[in-house]
Amino acid sequence: MKKECIAMLLAGGQGSRLYVLTGEMAKPAVPFGGKYRIIDFPLSNCINSGIDTVGVLTQYRPLELNSYIGSGQPWDLDGSTGGVHILPPYQGSKGGTWYKGTANAIYQNIGFIDLYDPDYVVILSGDHIYKMDYSKMVARHKAAGAACTISVMEVPWSEASRFGIMAVDGNDMITEFAEKPKEPKSNLASMGIYVFSWKALRRYLTEDEADPNSENDFGKNVIPAMLNNGERMAAYRFEGYWKDVGTLESLWDANMDMLSPASGLDLLDETWPIYARSVNAPPAFLGGDSQVHHSAFNRGSILEGTVENSVLAPNVVVSKGARVSYSVLMPGTVVKPGAVVEYAILGESCSIGENCHVGGTPEETAPDSWGLTVLAPGCSLAEGKEVRPGVMLDRNGEEVSR
């Protein structure tokens, strides 16, 4: 079945900088923004952009992700041609290996891509929160007659040395690429979203695989090789909200951004819907004494205490006399009477016992060092327990260092 364009979504990474949150699931499966998981963003972007064939490359702890994606039906990616396909590493007649790098993961699935004989392949990451019309990027790729188009956005000059930075000419064609340069020549940062002409990419992947010194990575190997060979490389400027949620702080930030449409992340905008596999639960109930302000919550929740500046996933309970501030609570978490949760990320199905105190404000913690408090999914705290700011607990309640 010939397709003009298909997408390959890199979802195999552990996401080790999310620490205990990705202890048992891959990063793209981490809950985000109340009702979503991170992977809902690229999947929804695909279907909204008219891309109906998506390969999801999985490797690290894929069970949660696999069951979440299922048939792909919540994203309308269950068509009879195309749809979403989970692509784990596999054995061939000459053996097989794990995915050694981003480029190797695609290399190992050349057979899958060839099934669709596409003109263009979009390479996506499973750890970004953004709304983007990939069809515009593909249009730019075609118009530029490029072999590769990289989406870029302007970042503050002071932060440019943290990103992969592109130098471009007057037509926004890429002249130079530097990974985390000490002295950046531009402030156009790569967003890790690429469009390739499949014929060109296929050739470069094969050459890259044959090079024993290559790390088989797009940013480190394939893109530089293409540039060195003088391939036409276009930049596609993206304007709008985009955030890499690969760290605990950025994950928390992006959740908070969701509360303020002024941040640019307006999930109420139904012209570009983000789809999710929804849980089945009755509407949320807000009790007679509840105080909920500047917060988002979801179905199945019972809120009888105070909730401020927080994002609550489905089936969360905040009991009478409990207070949740500046926190992100993932599905099924229960905060018992009198407990306080501040500046924290609580994984799925955590239980916070009565009168516990989890986390604290930066002001009250000073002059001690402050940080977000993070509890692994399934962590259960006994009555009256205190968890200091910056502390991270695994599912057994043991402290884990960053």
Binding site: Q73, A276, S278, N280, A284, V292, A296, F297, N298
Partner: protein
Amino acid sequence: MNGLHGIIFSYEKRNDLRELSEIRSAASIPFGGRYRAVDFALSNLVNAGSTDVGVVLHGRYQSMVDHLGTGKAWDLSRKRGGLRLLPPFNYQKDWGVMPFRGKMEALAGVRSYLDTIRQEYVAMMDGDLVVNLPLADVYENHIKSGADITVVCGNDSFATADGTYYEKDADGRITEVLYNLNKPRGYRGLEVYIVSTTLLKELVDECNAKDQFSWRRDVLRAKKDTLNIRCYIWKGFAAQIRSVQEYYDRSMQLLDPAIRAELFCPERPIRAKGADKSSTYISDSGRCVNSLVADGCRIEGVVENSILFPGAVVEEGAVVRNCVLFKEDIVRRGAQLSYIIADKDVEVLEGRTLMGHATYPIVLAKGSIV
């Protein structure tokens, strides 16, 4: 294979529902913040293991057909069996004009469908019943008791429009079938029945041959002495949505945690079609208490003792008390609403004030701008 087939009736026009049923049948009325009445019957059946369910429709069924779709939300989109929509294809009287006069006429109207039923027993339910019945238990009781027909009753004589009431002997056998009662007495029938497929077909054919159309008159009452008709008493919450007042009172009962715990018990989940909405947001200025709130709402004003469906918006300075706001309703700045049931897509403009009363809730028709 489970032996229980479901038939849901969604053909009756209830005038007492006023504006709420102008555009839809009673079974597709939104209820409880994110459901349609028929979700309860469907979920009850599916939770009892039914894989095949037919829905008998007649008139104003666009809303119902939209809602049910392929039946996917209830796992009834199946290769074999699954959901069957049954708009009338064999009118007995006045082609396409008259609604069915009763269940027996409705079933005669889909007579050929009855022959395709694979299961030994049929559970018949009305689409306007809001309940979470342990239907598997009712079914088991039906078989154990040797009944020809099991009638499920509420443990009360609550008055409902056009209700059927039953009297029984100590043994559980129905001794009287009552309707058109000025003052209801006996056990309130929930219009849920279990009967064997064979007997049902015989009864439909017999009634059809005699030009009889009423299940309660021509079957239950007429045959109460010859058939073993027994009742199953359900002591929990069971609401029949047949008038505006009943709709309002029953909706408000959901603010009681005990009733919610019973109706939404986790062992028998009530499934509904998911709306692709984001989280609900309450702003700094918003205040929302003692209310049931679905996804995708935006609350910047005051909401008390109310039920909000997905996407309802209450702007800053607006006050909504004791109301039911359907999908995508907008209450603009400074507007005040009490005891209002606002159908879908209603917009109440800035500063408007509308007040009903607990004994006379006002209904705003779909799409109205106040």
